[in-house]
């Protein structure tokens, strides 16, 4: 059996400057989860920094680089949910997070993306996090359950309900978009 890599972890333990290797390797993951959850870059950055600080304080408990990634993913999801409860953040869709519309408007359609983003941001915190871990991180249901410390059946239910909530509005918008593009 292969021994899991500990290269990043060892470097970070030896010297706080070595922690930069972990940040470099995982910043996309951490920031994207927070951004997907809050749709606000400033809050996403604050939450990401808190997650990295927590990791720094708990480095001695971790055993491998893979463990670091899983721990960090779990810490970020917890921080997001805790933060949203604490500040009772009313989610909103940050326009800066949407790609500039291109001409001709190729996919993704900005209107559809904007509306879908708004709908995702309105989902309850845990349900929103299930959607993010499923469609952003491509995690399996069992992995999502472990990350969020939930029952697998609860994850299935939450995911199904989320998709049912999102579907009608997106379908409606899709029809609008196809109507506009055919009438041009």
């Amino acid at each position: 059996m292969d021994t899991p890599s500990t290269r990043l972890l060892d470097a970070a333990r030896d010297d706080p400057a070595g922690f930069e290797g972990i940040v470099n390797a995982t910043q996309g993951l951490v920031f994207s989860i927070a951004l997907g959850f809050f749709r606000n870059r400033q809050i996403a950055e604050d939450v990401s920094q808190e997650a990295y600080l927590a990791l720094f304080r708990n480095l001695h408990k971790l055993r491998s680089d893979l463990h670091v990634v899983n721990w960090l993913r779990q810490a970020t999801t917890r921080k997001c949910i805790d933060y949203s409860r604490r500040i009772r953040h009313r989610p909103f869709f940050d326009l800066a997070a949407v790609d500039e519309p291109r001409v001709p408007p190729a996919e993704p359609d900005p209107l559809l993306a904007s509306e879908l983003g708004r709908r995702v941001a309105e989902l309850p915190p845990k349900m929103r996090m299930v959607v993010i871990l499923r469609f952003q991180e491509d995690l399996k249901l069992r992995e999502i359950a472990e990350t969020l410390e939930m029952n697998v059946n609860t994850v299935k239910t939450q995911l199904r309900r989320a998709l049912i909530r999102l579907r009608p509005r997106v379908e409606h918008l899709r029809q609008e978009v196809s109507y506009v593009s055919t009438s041009r």
């Binding site: 930069e20 993951l29 950055e45 990295y52 559809l112 952003q136 199904r160």
Partner: protein
């Protein structure tokens, strides 16, 4: 059993919407600045100034710790040593033995004196 909502279009849109985002410029530097600050804050503790930590304990916790130490010390001192107990018992037995001997001796001399008073000092007491 999980029944997926059969809408590949929706799932595709979600994957597109939630695609990994690039962190803002300077993100890594800002994280590292906070990590360095945290590392400096933790440095004194790392070198083990345990007495400083003790002094920084809340007053109530410190008083409680001192009381616990006193109770423990008293308990250790109050428990009697078994060998001391045996020696004191031996001493008491010796004293009691000596007192008993004195009492018997006294009783014997009183008995002789009573005989002298009753029958005269020179008379032999015969069995007849």
């Amino acid at each position: 059993m999980y029944r997926p909502v059969d809408d590949p279009g929706l799932e595709r849109e979600l994957r597109r919407l939630l695609a990994r985002a690039r962190p803002p410029a300077g993100f890594r530097a800002r994280v590292m600045r906070r990590i360095r600050d945290e590392g400096e804050d933790r440095a004194p503790r790392k070198f083990g100034l345990w007495w400083l930590q003790l002094a920084l304990l809340r007053r109530g916790a410190l008083a409680l710790a001192v009381c616990a130490c006193c109770v423990l010390l008293l308990a250790v001192l109050a428990i009697p040593d078994p060998s001391d107990h045996r020696a004191s018992e031996d001493r008491a037995a010796t004293v009691a033995e000596r007192e008993l001997a004195e009492v018997l001796q006294l009783a014997g001399s009183q008995w002789v004196r009573a005989q002298n008073v009753a029958f005269g000092p020179d008379e032999e007491i015969s069995d007849d």
